[in-house]
Symmetry: C2
Amino acid sequence: MNATATATPELAPESDEAFLSTPFVQQLIKQMRAQDTHGSWEGKTDLQLLKPFIHTAEERRALPILGDPDPETLWHLEIFYNAIAVAIERETGQMVSPMMKMSHEGFGRMVLIAGRLVVVNKQLRDVHRFGFPSLAKLSDAGSKFLTEAVAMIREFPAVAQYGA
Amino acid sequence: MNATATATPELAPESDEAFLSTPFVQQLIKQMRAQDTHGSWEGKTDLQLLKPFIHTAEERRALPILGDPDPETLWHLEIFYNAIAVAIERETGQMVSPMMKMSHEGFGRMVLIAGRLVVVNKQLRDVHRFGFPSLAKLSDAGSKFLTEAVAMIREFPAVAQYGA
């Protein structure tokens, strides 16, 4: 990690370093770097790379909520849940696939499925404004999904490994 | 049911009557009738109503498989799985929701979810040509999904009722 407090002062209180190293955030950084096929983000710190997931209250208010969500926002939403899926795979050895359904105007549903088990089940609302107020909240949200999914797979192994 | 062998001779060997009364096919007919908001299908027999789900070998060959599947075909595919979902609900009292993901060129995935349990899991291929060679095959396919889903819900009630 090459993030420093000087590079992005608004995002980097001292505690950010700790959140950057959680298994979920590490995976999210990896997923973002994997999208950078042209190497144009190589100069970016990890914190800068995560900026699209983090909105200050003011930035959040500035996002329009009419019509369909922005493709870029949907893309970040998918990367967020993909990172959770990969983190679950690493922890349990179980393959996990995401499925998303957007119904209308920023409403939808996201599930992560291991075998026949829905390990993450999230009703999506307000997708236009997908993001978190801080790195700490981003890390907590992802880590909570990860912990619950891993616990579910351990509770219902026959369902997670159904047909495998 | 008002289907008669004379109305659609190509679809109605004597045994069709039996298939028209299976719980799955009954539900599929109901789902189709529910789409008919303008009453324009009132004169159609049940067999005629199910014609879009049934392709002779020749009709099947005539369907193009390039590009994205026809919206009408996707709509029939969704009605087919919706009918299975509703039939499972009637049999088990468990709410069931479909989720579909179309990836490209007629490939995709359809799941039916009860609580945290994936009760139907179907990799979709060749969606352009979605349909069955006969009413018997249509009935068998739907009834098989229904039977397996009901058995799964009974085998894993804690997962099907998770969080309820």
